[in-house]
Symmetry: C3
Subunit: 439 residues, 3 copies
């Protein structure tokens, strides 16, 4: 398999953000759903970037309370008026078809047709995005203007879809680290031509994976590219034994719009990832928000269900439902920007890096202060301009490194920057005054 | 025994509040004390309402650090002036006699008489209520105007009382529930003609007992009608083995005046009853108050002594000593209103009902969300107008029902009304998604 | 050994504050350092006040990560100009010599001399105090005006010091109490002619020791008079087995200036001494400050190192480095006042007394209230004017005396003064209603 790394693209003259936007552009036209060939095609293109493993779980597989549904595929769909003109055509936008629509091809009265149409009066030029996964139905999503123009008494409707035994397709990518403890990063892959609501996640997460696989990490990292809800449930059901290795995780979504960031805490609320994500977001901008867990939204619902209760939060830019283009045809490639995608990548990486570096060291000389002078640490500046501040960082780190405090805890209690404490720990470890706690 | 239920009275055309006021009116003239026939007569009338069990504990019985005192009874008392006129007469108000007064019948000088008189200069027409249970003494309580009118050099005083071996009388009523865990509701019965300070409690508690015995309850309920202090101590001494079944309790007092409610927390401060009583009071009116425990007041002093440390609070309207008529002849049937008594009954019942419904359910499908759609729960409204809010109530309840969270805890964390969460739990239990935790 | 107690001085007509200032005046001229005869002379004079035990720890002794250094002594030092005039002379101020300076006696050029001079441009008439314990160096500390006056091309410099195998000298004084649990009070003895920065500590601590040895104490008290850093490390290394007896402690320093008090919490932050010191300081003045622990400052750094983590705070007036005269020749006998020294003594004694009295009593009659009347407690006033408040103090003490609450805890929860609660406990213990918890 030939993989083109994101960094190679960067070296090809694009900023990382432009490269991520270009990747979203490639994926945009594909008609994805929770199963089917659209997902397969998406993952095939993703596999050119990072060496994901693609999994197929057969329709009918019991996954906890759920069953993997029949696979849905679609080739064509339209509404023809009495003159034979295609007034609505799937070829123009895959949003026109109710996602998971059952097949149909017959004449219908205007009245019957109308009961199968979805539209938005408030945004007369936008097509809404609608699904019917678990209730058999057919339908079209149209602009309000298109809706109003349908005045013929009878129309020919055609949805050339299939619902049949197949499989649910997802991708997984594992980067082993120094420890078996894993960080889980999950993003959903089930939305058709919507840019922010899920291509931004796929693009940013693939770039994170590409960066992490090229460096040495303390934690192992597991990336899953899955359909929402049924995908997370399927993954958890099929990987129940692995769950105990997951130390924390983030559900990635909505990472391309121009809004500030919102981190939604895990159900456990005060885990290390919750504290560190909040720290990073608040450090970067006071406009970023931290909100409490609630059992709705993306797949943190499943990861935080009481039987798992994982330390998994959600990090997005503008949350779902809070921007007008959400789940409409205007969640398009213009809604997302290269700059936003790049910043999202940076924020994720900053959080993950901080978690990876956030060791609980143990002072090897815990009784009284060690003599820093004889070890050459007394006038070190540790990358800062301030010798005195770095002295304090050394003393705080020694004082609190009793095994129960992480570097982040030390930074918090000392009111010093994490970076300075991390550098102090690095220097102290270098002269043998700190050891890494056994995990 | 014929019992006339409170509800029958209600059906006789009186509101519940009017019926409670009428009951207080019947009990008002009786001269009660911590022992004696006044209490027996009171409990005999109470037994017509609810099937209480009446207990007699002999004088001289050791109850922890205390001894059940001699029984006090009184038939007549007066002060006669030199013309033979009864200027003070127990027949006019039983408050005129110092409660537990020793007998006396002789001529006394004005000077000696004055040293045995109690009065209120600030309220010249009110008779104070005074007692001398544990120090032998005789005395009269008079209005300040009566006091000033006593100018004869010598008076004949007569208190035809007896202090002799008898018993302490109290009543108990037990309603068995689904579990052995008990809720204790206690009210004092030792005050003579004072309406708010104790008849309001007796009336409201009897109505609560009458309501609870007619419905199915999760908890068992124990009602005790006892003299203050010595009664609670006697009950605890004689029922020490039962105490471990008491999950929580309320001391009921001062429930008929027009003031807002005050809940005084248990010594443990944050028990379930403390949180729920505070929630109900604050939900009903911002004027209601929650105050911390202090080791003074009513019988919560005994229930919260360190050797028991029960989750027992006190719920009154205006607290003791904070209304001018407290412990005077003006704490009469006009101070208490039918509306206040009825509202007190409702508040108690709301708190007790919420406690009874406040189960810790366990999600039977804790790994990932269960599929609500296939169980018909997806578009339920659960008694609210808002399908979406009810969906959230279902999801919150499933998410937090891991056995350690009560429905109240879930309501608090989700910022939803207890009622909506309770209804969600009811629906989820109906389809087998929740079971009741073993207690 | 003849000891002249501080109280005898007081009876000689001086206030305690004046006596403490006089004691500092006696000690002021001595040239102290972390080792050497200056410390010995200081402790010899201290031994006239309290019966301290003087210890000598040989140079070269390993003490945790450190080694007891060579002993430093000095007889004379000067800088002579070309005319043979001593322009700088140790005889004028022992601050003139860099403390722990290596010996030297030769001609030096002005340029070389300047590289060994320390001065303060901002305070042109003050001599700074500088040390070089762990890096061999010679040097002089001079006023900026003296510095500017040095214009000869060559000077004769002489420092008649010795650095040779000897010992580190410190003093210890132990007062046994009812229990083996100890309160540690430590003050440093290593500064030469600086009044606030360390003579104030030596004086105040000696007065506290003198008072405590004349009264009966619950805790044992251990006083150590040690050189900063290396002294505390040496004491801890040589007394590691005793450390488990230390229940709490205070490092005493900077107790003579006119500033308000600052208490720096122990690393554990909320221990009994932290709470009580804060209570006393805030009760005395709102200008007093409570600050969090940080691993810098005085010997609390060593006592609070993670391998010991003792409940040891620091109580000073103006903290180190926060007054302009700090570590200069202007930290002299005029900077400290008799009134400040006396107040410091009082604050320390108040804190120590409160700790000593802060027993966790157990109610011997925990089930229901005991009958106070029959024990004569019902109308006691307990030193207050207010019978009712003292009643409440009795009831609170009985209610909370379940073994886990100290008298301070009871005072805090009841919002009553510690003194009133302590008196209530005294009365209750007198009638057998409280016993002292086994420690």
């Amino acid at each position: 398999m030939t993989t083109v790394s994101l960094n190679e693209d960067v070296s090809a003259g694009l900023t990382r953000g432009e490269q991520l936007h270009a990747f979203a552009t490639v994926l945009f036209p594909i008609c994805r759903s929770i199963t089917g060939n659209g997902v397969r095609e998406t993952l095939r293109i993703l596999a050119e970037k990072i060496p994901i493993e693609i999994k197929e779980v057969p329709s009918g597989t019991q996954v906890f309370d759920w069953v993997v549904p029949q696979e849905w595929n679609i080739t064509e769909a339209y509404i023809k008026d009495s003159t034979g003109k295609r007034v609505i055509d799937f070829a123009n936008s895959n949003l026109h078809v109710l996602n998971y629509s059952t097949p149909i091809h017959r004449q219908v009265t205007l009245e019957e047709l109308r009961s199968h149409l979805h539209y938005l009066e408030d945004h007369p030029d936008w097509i809404p995005y609608k699904t019917s996964y678990y209730k058999e139905d057919w339908g079209f999503c149209v602009t309000y203007n298109q809706y109003k123009a349908l005045t013929d008494p009878v129309y020919e409707v055609c949805i050339a879809s299939t619902l049949s035994k197949g499989s649910l397709t997802y991708a997984e990518y594992f980067i082993p680290g120094d420890t078996q403890e894993e960080v889980l990063i999950s993003t959903h892959t089930c939305h058709p031509s919507l840019a922010n609501d899920n291509l931004s996640g796929i693009a940013v997460v693939s770039a994170i994976a590409d960066t992490l696989r090229k460096r040495k990490n303390r934690y192992s990292y597991r990336f899953i590219f899955i359909p929402g809800t049924i995908g997370a449930i399927t993954w958890l059901a099929q990987n129940e034994q692995r769950v105990r290795h997951i130390k924390f995780g983030i559900v990635a979504s909505l990472l391309g719009d121009r809004g500030s960031f919102t981190y939604k805490r895990s159900r456990r609320a005060n885990t290390e990832i919750d504290l560190i994500a909040a720290y990073v977001l608040k450090q970067r901008s006071e406009h970023n928000k931290i909100i409490d867990f609630f059992p709705y939204g993306y797949d943190e619902r499943q990861f935080c269900s009481p039987g798992f209760n994982l330390a998994v939060g959600n990090l997005s830019r503008t949350p779902f439902g809070q921007y007008p283009e959400y789940h409409t045809s205007n969640d398009n490639l213009e809604l997302i920007t290269a700059a936003s995608l790049e910043e999202s990548y940076e924020v994720y990486l900053q959080i993950l890096t901080m978690l990876d570096q956030n060791v609980c060291y143990v002072n090897t000389n815990p009784k009284c202060e060690p003599q820093l002078g004889k070890r050459g640490l007394y006038s070190l500046r540790g990358g800062t301009n301030d010798t005195k501040a770095f002295q304090m960082a050394l003393l705080w780190t020694l004082n609190l490194a009793s095994g129960e405090n992480s570097l982040f805890d030390i930074a918090q209690r000392s009111h010093m920057d994490f970076e300075v404490i991390r550098e102090a720990a690095f220097q102290l470890k270098g002269v043998g005054l700190l050891t890494e706690e056994k995990t």
